[in-house]
Symmetry: D2
Subunit: 323 residues, 4 copies
Amino acid sequence: MKRIAVFTSGGDSPGMNACIRAVVRTAIYHGIEVYGIRKGYNGMISGDFYKMESSSVSNTIQKGGTILKSARSKEFMTREGRERAFEQLKKYEIDGLVAIGGNGTFTGASMFSEEFGIPIVGAPGTIDNDLYGTDYTIGYDTAVNTALDAIDKIRDTADSHERVFFVEVMGRDSGYIAMPCAIGGGAEIVMIPETITSIEQVIDTLRNGWERSKTSFIIVIAEGDEEGNATQIAAQVKEALPQMDARVTILGHVQRGGAPTAADRLLASQIGIATVEGLINGKSDVMAGIVNSRLVYTPFKDTINKKKIINQRFVRMVEILSI
Amino acid sequence: MKRIAVFTSGGDSPGMNACIRAVVRTAIYHGIEVYGIRKGYNGMISGDFYKMESSSVSNTIQKGGTILKSARSKEFMTREGRERAFEQLKKYEIDGLVAIGGNGTFTGASMFSEEFGIPIVGAPGTIDNDLYGTDYTIGYDTAVNTALDAIDKIRDTADSHERVFFVEVMGRDSGYIAMPCAIGGGAEIVMIPETITSIEQVIDTLRNGWERSKTSFIIVIAEGDEEGNATQIAAQVKEALPQMDARVTILGHVQRGGAPTAADRLLASQIGIATVEGLINGKSDVMAGIVNSRLVYTPFKDTINKKKIINQRFVRMVEILSI
Amino acid sequence: MKRIAVFTSGGDSPGMNACIRAVVRTAIYHGIEVYGIRKGYNGMISGDFYKMESSSVSNTIQKGGTILKSARSKEFMTREGRERAFEQLKKYEIDGLVAIGGNGTFTGASMFSEEFGIPIVGAPGTIDNDLYGTDYTIGYDTAVNTALDAIDKIRDTADSHERVFFVEVMGRDSGYIAMPCAIGGGAEIVMIPETITSIEQVIDTLRNGWERSKTSFIIVIAEGDEEGNATQIAAQVKEALPQMDARVTILGHVQRGGAPTAADRLLASQIGIATVEGLINGKSDVMAGIVNSRLVYTPFKDTINKKKIINQRFVRMVEILSI
Amino acid sequence: MKRIAVFTSGGDSPGMNACIRAVVRTAIYHGIEVYGIRKGYNGMISGDFYKMESSSVSNTIQKGGTILKSARSKEFMTREGRERAFEQLKKYEIDGLVAIGGNGTFTGASMFSEEFGIPIVGAPGTIDNDLYGTDYTIGYDTAVNTALDAIDKIRDTADSHERVFFVEVMGRDSGYIAMPCAIGGGAEIVMIPETITSIEQVIDTLRNGWERSKTSFIIVIAEGDEEGNATQIAAQVKEALPQMDARVTILGHVQRGGAPTAADRLLASQIGIATVEGLINGKSDVMAGIVNSRLVYTPFKDTINKKKIINQRFVRMVEILSI
């Protein structure tokens, strides 16, 4: 392994820069040259490469976003696109790739590696924490803390007024972000895709609370909940309980930004080192992750197909703590 | 003046507790007893009073919300309601009132003071900064910083993707919150009630940017904008420019919470002192404010009827700085 | 088990309130009465007990410090003190205790439990993360993030000036706080009690950097480092390298405060539940902790005597990442 | 005016980048070319110039530090140094300068402008707020909020323990930072250079508090206080009151960093515009500032020689609010 390249793909997440930094410095530490590819697979196809030095990643560990930019690429989904990408890698004499992203990124990487024999090791960069093969994904801890900080602020004002607050958080098809936000934010109700909470149940809980003169509620809703988004759910609740003043907060992309937390910087740094040392040791078609504090390499096909299940302990916790 | 009472009314704002604290300690400093009234005019009517000591406000200066709770009162809008409130004040031998709130609060206070001759001095507690008679209202600086922090996080991710972000901020019928958020957040477009920005103008700006390959935009929208809310505006833009990926953030009540900034604590403390010393000096039917670093008392009728106009310098600044 | 009591002891840490809240609500959930004891063992001796309800812990999960106050008790170190404490427990008919604190707290608890047969389960509440039997202690994640935030701010200014910054962080006799701060803060040097870094090595590194015209450095020092505190180390460096402008930051108790992070709230909530359910299931003389995402009860004598060793992976990471 | 240059000098402050951004974009808006000079007067002497475009300042408004770097220059204090600097300006055909910094910066600028006839307009960039001619300096509001956030965290823990906390904040020879920190942080004592507070007074206050069983105190000390620094004062207090547990926090350069607050971004943007438009309108040897919400140009000799006096209202406020 003489020269590797690194890129970020899909939705960005806080800590991606800390991961890129670790990749670059670990490569240099081991005497390997390293290139950055801008804008994910699109930049790989168009040849948007540049040589990175240790100083290229100075003062980036604390920055949100990704200095390599990111994108979703339709062209890479075609055989022609991947051929063009491989031509670029040959031109730049790249022996191995580090792919930082989520499931979509690894699906592309897996095909690419199989078709063209280029070694690829992945790093789990997504706020959604929905990847099998790692306890936490890079950016997840930051996103949860950002959402929780917003809920804390809402709670300040909730106490003064008789209101129901609906807070929609991210997480694609999972409640990984919603669950700790609900527990840590002291929410009364959490609605996540993994469990069924009907609008009727929500209305019942609110009505019962109202009758016991509890008049302020926080409801955390995962964006992928089966009952719809926060605006839709709030509208149905307002119709059933017109006496309650319902307000909606949609945090949106606020959750993707911000300086990464300490945990995300450490995780990103460890995984960044592991991707490069994995490539050196002949690994490919795998994602580096941390499971039970240990470094683990999981085949892409498992990270893509196996489902990580939210700890049932958390579901029970909401029941106990909202007493 | 032997005994006064203090209450908060209307929407809460960060710094209300710092103001209550200053009222309580200034009263005690001058040998005056002080009562807290819970839940605004509702509590005044129902007699929800309690004696406050210096220690009642210990460790509250940094807290969001209001320890006295707040509410909007329909009953106080009636002559009967106000009579019942006055009965309570007589019962507790209250000689003067400090009312912390916004325009609605002062409208009620003005009527009440006129009808029953009870001296009332107001403190401008609202995040909206829409009160004539003070350069800044208590909570405004905090709300702006909270919204700006959210926009900073969006900007982190905006740089990596080709996207249009619509961020809806509070401010009722004014652009006071939206304007500094747009300038401080480096937004490309700001939509406020005070100026007309049509959907067509927005679409033109985005299309022109897109054609110059500028593909990431932040648009700050004041909740009271004449073109509708962020969700509605985003929908129209998506229809006209389907190639652009538009995302919506609605901060909502997040902006009302959080620890008050240094500026809000100082302002709240100064104004809290001024309300009590105003009562001592025979003032009534006025709001205490700070204009050009000087303490000013403005008649309630002026704070209610006169309009504070957003500095035109700021409108020009957006034009220059978004070059 | 009909009635338990909970107290905090030793240095406070962010998340203690979240743990108290979980203890209170879990007890009530299981039909057990719960008392709070104020000021640790001192309050146990003096009988500073009060009955807690679900509402006693409303709106506390996000608060730093401890609503039960904390203290170090000399009297409890004596047999007489402990006898008086036990009398109080008998008087209040307490069947079991939850002790939230660190090593000193558990040493007292272990003696007390042995002597008087009262069941006690501990919760690891300390920012130092130096307790065997749990991967993380309650408050550790918050303290690290607070220190890291300070280092980020120093880095902003470090880049503009030719300066050496010495930042002293907490951690008693361990480098658990210093290490992630150094890695996450991109520090050039870390000085922790577990490894020997001589002043000469520091001076050499700085001199070599200076000669390669690297002129800005951040050095993170654990308060318990064998070479002295930050002020002492900085003085020695200044003497050897008078051309360098050295500045000292001592964060001190800033690291103990602040709203707990999401991770600390979750950890504290899980452990709080586990302490009560441990008591119910007949456990005593043990601390509840989370190891590899699983709940573990460790005998007090092990948490006190066994040493948790900092992951050697981290020491190597500093070497690679500071390239 | 065809081409101007901008530089930052002296200690950096949050908001300097927002000011540079406004200078660059205002110049371009008016059809003027703009150069950046790196490392203050040192870079002016050595010719470290580069042409800036609108995109040079993209995504910088929220960043702490200064993208132009800063330095203190001994060489510029000599006639020879200034001659060399002027040669560079001639070479680059610079018609006017914007100097962002404090008193030292303006002293140099004033000499330079007089000797060589080059128009210079200054912007007040310092966290110390000690410049005559502006209500607030760029960076002051951010520094105060940073220090206050630290004091809030200390207060969380102060409530649980019997302790005296000494917190040293910046501010050179003035109490501008210490005063709002003390008021906003609810400190019991503030020690600033402008007023005499002897160690004996501090000890008396603590002893009296102790005797009334008030056992937790926060003392804010300005770094330039006549009684010494926090470590020295704490040592004297410990000697006199050995029963009290005294802890020291020295925030140091933490106060110089961080994302600027909304107020600092607005101030920096307004002043940045004003410096360029001042140069266009023939101003020189003046600093742009905001006094009572209005733009004011003050001769350098006044900003250097006249003293801005801390509002006496604040001194009285501490007395009232610490009751």
